[in-house]
Amino acid sequence: MESQLPAEFIVNINHERCRKCKRCVINCSFSAIEFKDKVTANNRQCVACHRCATFCPENAITIIHNPLDYKDGYNWSPEIRKNILKQAESGGIILTGMGNPRPYPIYWDHMLIDACQVTNPSIDPLREPMELRTYLGAKPEALEFEGDIDNISLKTELAPQVKLDIPIVFAAMSYGAISLNAHKALAMAAKRMGTLMNTGEGGLHEDLAGYTDRIIVQVASGRFGVTSKYLNNSALVEIKIGQGAKPGIGGHLPGEKVGEDISKTRMIPVGTDALSPAPHHDIYSIEDLSQLIYAIKETTDYKKPVSVKIAAVHNVAAIASGIVRAGADIVMIDGFRGGTGAAPMVIRDHVGIPIELALAAVDDRLRQEGIRNRASILVGGSIRQSADVVKAIALGADACVIGTASLIAMGCRVCQKCYTGNCAWGIATQKPELVRRLNPEVGADRLCNLLTAWGHEIQEVLGSLGINAIESLRGSRERLRGVGLSQETLDILGIKHAGIGQ
């Protein structure tokens, strides 16, 4: 069938500036730029990854949206019509990558952080110590001590804890979804910054052996790469039930991406599909979930905290309560603006709820039930800046998880074509010639810089709040105010409207 799909972008090449160095041709991994006497563009192939424009020494390339693609319209927008054409031509589910691009409300941007003034002065973070340290894991009801004042020791036996020097953790992205170099960069940065990276459901590559005390290993329905060694070589173990970008559905790494190395890490033959449907086929109830949690605890001799990751859905508070009662030490909630390597567009864009509301509901419910101390709460799903982290912690999170932001730090241009495996920036690809474009050392430096910068910003905000430890902000919703939100939304978030005093 002949395609009726027009080009989404137009690549403009300024031939007066172009020196014909062909750097753009070499850099384009989507075959959108060719050289025949001069540089020419095949607009239909362009995904706006911006690799060519970034590396053009003459700044001779600009990429614009194709303005004549369709007659404009709000209801039957060009995108909606483009999708209908695609499906009319193929009969397939539309697959897409990265996070939800639709204009749903971003509640972070309608929450403002309080500050101190005269009566309770702010703190100067340049001069005074600011504590960002966080411990993930179940906390006891109370602490008991023994001995006398000169020789006091803790009597209470603590559940295993993982120390984070900054309350920001790298999100679960599997080796397969992203390249080994990207994984290495994340692991190196996690180690250097005293935080964690997450293998996702792809197993642990042997090159990451030196970083295992800074790695979250994941157990999902496909159980790829899972062995007792994998579970024990970790900072903590995460059971993945759901993911924000695609709640209720699973993962699916196509066989053509399963090369020699991924085959070894996932422990499946080369070229086989890695199917990981949503349900764990041994979990149909909270009791079943508890069984898996304790199977992992038995296997790791109760030395590793066990986390359960779920997508933000409307009943998330009750689910989280069940998860905590099932014995999880950490609940990870992923909101519907979260990223992914590949998801059906209909799921990514329309299923799930925003992380802000889910977090507020979960923290509320666990407090009401008196079990908030039994588990740490991690949240992710489009944490874009340090302010989002501060707001999430004030709403009740212990720490935040960043996926897309960490990829952007490494060079990602959010062109949303991860599932094609052609990532021009060497991140979401397994093609050796593209993977080597990402230097893991440079990637790690950029990630460390991002976290360092956010850490400083968080300290500044804490100073303005008159707080010197992130611990003191956790769940302190009184320090947030809403702007432009309905009363119902404010009630769910548990915050007052701006202008209301104590």
Binding site: K86, V226, D273, H281, Q291, A295
Partner: protein, 242 residues
């Protein structure tokens, strides 16, 4: 080491086993077992554990080496994500056995429940194998990505296997002693006759199996087997448009 497990909670019992394994103990005999979970979970050494009584769920989960003999029935979740080792059950077992199993042998004398061998995998020479002497429930070999499953139906019950056999299967092979009605099969599998190599392959395992449980090898081999293999390595490859 002999442990009388009567009334014992699984946690101290399993810790006792782990600690003894760490200090070099090679053989365990567990008496009066009654539902204790996670026996052998995560053990990496080549120890032998004999269980007298019915163990609880997730026996041998993430196990990587031991040999476990159960002189009774088993419950659910046996050999969950097992990597290597052997489990021999002289009775029936429940549901979801061998989930994501990626190596080792799992022999059951009697029937098996639902969802047996789901997500079973293989990697190079590491090929898991499950043999059951009786019948199986629904979803036998669902999403099977590797390994070998053999179902013998020696107790003459019918049907041999439930519905959705091999749904989503994209690797491995299932041998069923007898005929399978096509309506029991998932869309992703096809039925074949056994080749000489197949017969040779399963004979090796079945000889060992018969020795454990006292079946007559020649009688086992006298019936006709059905071989099930996936139609494609990529059953859902055409579902998507980019």
């Amino acid at each position: 080491m002999r442990i009388n497990a009567k009334g014992m909670h699984y946690r101290p019992m399993n810790k006792m086993i782990r600690d003894a394994v760490a200090s070099g103990e090679k053989e365990f005999e567990l008496d009066n077992i009654g539902g204790q979970r996670y026996i052998g979970a995560g053990l990496n050494e080549n120890v032998k554990i004999t269980i007298n009584g019915t163990p609880g769920n997730d026996l041998g989960a993430f196990m990587n080496g031991p040999k476990i003999i159960v002189n009774a029935n088993g419950q659910d979740g046996l050999a969950n994500t097992m990597n290597a080792g052997e489990i021999i059950v002289h009775g029936n077992v429940g549901d979801i056995i061998g989930y994501g199993m990626r190596g080792g042998k799992f022999y059951i004398k009697g029937d098996v429940g639902y969802r047996v061998g789901i997500h079973m995998k293989e990697y190079k020479k590491q090929v898991p194998i499950i043999i059951a002497g009786g019948t199986a429930g629904d979803f036998f070999g669902e999403y099977m990505a590797g390994g070998i499953m053999i179902l013998l139906g020696m107790n003459g019950k019918s049907p041999l296997v439930g519905d959705y056999v091999g749904t989503g299967m994209h690797g491995g092979v299932i041998y069923i002693r007898g005929k399978v009605d096509p309506y029991h099969l998932g869309k992703e599998v096809s039925c074949l006759e056994l080749s000489e190599e197949d017969t040779k392959l399963i004979s090796g395992y079945l000889k060992e199996y018969c020795e454990y449980f006292g079946f007559d090898f020649n009688e086992v081999m006298s019936a006709k087997f059905t071989k099930l293999v996936p139609l494609s390595l990529r059953p859902y490859g055409n579902m998507y448009v980019y």
